[in-house]
Subunit: 302 residues, 2 copies
């Protein structure tokens, strides 16, 4: 168990109330907040909703090569048999490949793209490093969904991430539409910490990457938050970018269409928020799920 | 096995090709087609897509009492223990109650509503009776989805419905939105018969009402039809009405929202298309799933 004070107690085996978050949403304070690159409209919207959607942030030409890399990886049998590749529970296909920024120079450069990294530094109020990265793939008709959860709840409990000071970036490689299982978010849910009930089983990550069971909020809490904030599922063409706060509740439904849904996913954590021992008391998860080694501040790729 | 010629062979245990339907979509011919109540725009749209959506067909006041009936039924332990009540596989809640038009006078009157029955007679080119009726309920967060299928494929194989000359009506009791598992349809799919592979197990209906496994089309056929026609999920407020042709492929995803989704569902079959012995060779399903007794032509409720 971590030595540091646990500000977000969860998974105690008992039902607990939800409570307001104890961290700011935008961490840059006062005058520095207005140094950009995001203007006050975007900052306020991020503070209110817990995410920002950039339709067509990159051109389709820019993202196509990542799709090729995914296809090549599927033919790399050594990689495919490694633990960092997660197969779909319903189909024998790639669901996720982790630590992509260590495998792919193109991916690594993307995480250091000045346009993205600039926004991240402003929102986190500090330098950042990559806590986790992956490529997600949902095949037509087969990609199964993912239950509602806050990433922070897992990262805090299982990885020892102390505070809410991390941001997920998701870059769409395919169209995200109503029928191929797009990411759904509950706007405003990041303002509350929603403790889960069930204790974390040892090596929970071996199951949880396929289907979230532990760390799922109580239905009454979900209902309260969704009735309050609604549900949104950003949709758009390849190259669109979603930034969402680490505590924003999100989920996805099954892909019931013939259209695959693929995206890149990379998590920025503040260098002032590095991992301690997991608060759940278990052993840390592997480095490809929660970086402890390579945590140097990212430099802009010029 | 039925004596009549089987125009739509399915579930032979072997893979078969899809083929164009051998029945008209609108059965009223020539001059009689223009006697109404539907105009040529609606008729052509129904012929092209296989369904018609009427946003706010009834007022919310008109549909509210049905919602109360559903709540009362949940407290009727005798009814709840009968075979005509199907529970959700994930949750111990009502999923469907069958033969509603025999239980509820209000429901029976609805099936004879002149506005609906007029359209049905025009589309079927004959008088009609109720082949099946039910109320469907998807609780918040719990209602599971239903895989792609054509109702006609099942009714032909398991009920001995000879030809494509039936229409399903679905009346929304709640909002149908993007997140509570609305019905999805593949426009134009009704133009093809998509044979299923797997043979029909004996008493298949005991499983199939909870989750469709037999009678699900091959993915390559689904993909071809969905790429051709797209996917649509009509959404709207309580009182909205959907009419869809018996062979239109449809499905629904899981309800991942706190908002329940309930609708009434009733199937009109032409009096010139009454059931024979099931083409799959099994015993007929119970009368509450496929009417053989009460097949008098419906009279308008004036």
């Amino acid at each position: 168990m971590s030595d540091s004070q646990d500000e977000y107690v969860t998974r105690t085996g008992e039902k607990q109330s939800i409570f307001p978050r104890r961290d700011p949403v935008v961490h840059t304070r006062n005058q520095a907040r207005w140094d950009g690159p995001l203007g006050e409209e975007a900052l306020s919207s991020y503070e209110r909703d817990g995410f920002l959607w950039f339709e067509g942030f990159f051109s389709e030409e820019r993202v196509e090569p990542f799709f090729d890399e995914l296809r090549n990886m599927a033919n790399d049998s050594e990689l495919m048999n490694s633990k960092r590749v997660i197969k779909d529970p319903e189909a024998d296909e790639i669901r996720s490949v982790f630590a992509m920024h260590e495998i792919s120079e193109r991916f690594s450069e993307l995480t250091r793209d000045p346009r993205i990294l600039g926004m991240i530094r402003q929102l986190l109020g500090s330098d950042a490093y990559i806590h986790q990265s992956r490529i997600n793939d949902k095949f037509g008709f087969q990609g199964s969904g993912f239950n509602w959860h806050s990433d922070f709840e897992t990262w805090h409990s299982e990885d020892g991430m102390p505070r809410m000071r991390a941001i997920s970036a998701s870059l769409m490689l395919t169209d995200n539409n109503e029928f191929n299982g797009p990411l759904m978010l509950i706007p405003g849910s990041h303002h509350y910490f929603v403790p889960a009930v069930q204790k974390t089983p040892d090596q929970n990550w071996k199951d949880s990457l396929k289907a979230q069971r532990v760390g799922v909020p109580e239905q009454e809490h979900l209902a309260w938050l969704a009735r309050r904030g609604g549900i949104q599922a950003p949709k758009g063409r390849p190259g669109s970018l979603l930034l969402f706060e680490c505590n924003t509740l999100h989920a996805s439904n099954q892909n019931m269409s013939p259209w695959p849904r693929s995206n890149l996913f990379f998590v920025y954590n503040s260098v002032d928020n590095v991992l301690t021992d997991p608060y759940c008391g278990n052993k840390p998860r592997p480095d490809f799920l929660a970086a402890r080694e390579n945590i140097e501040p990212l430099a802009m790729n010029d």
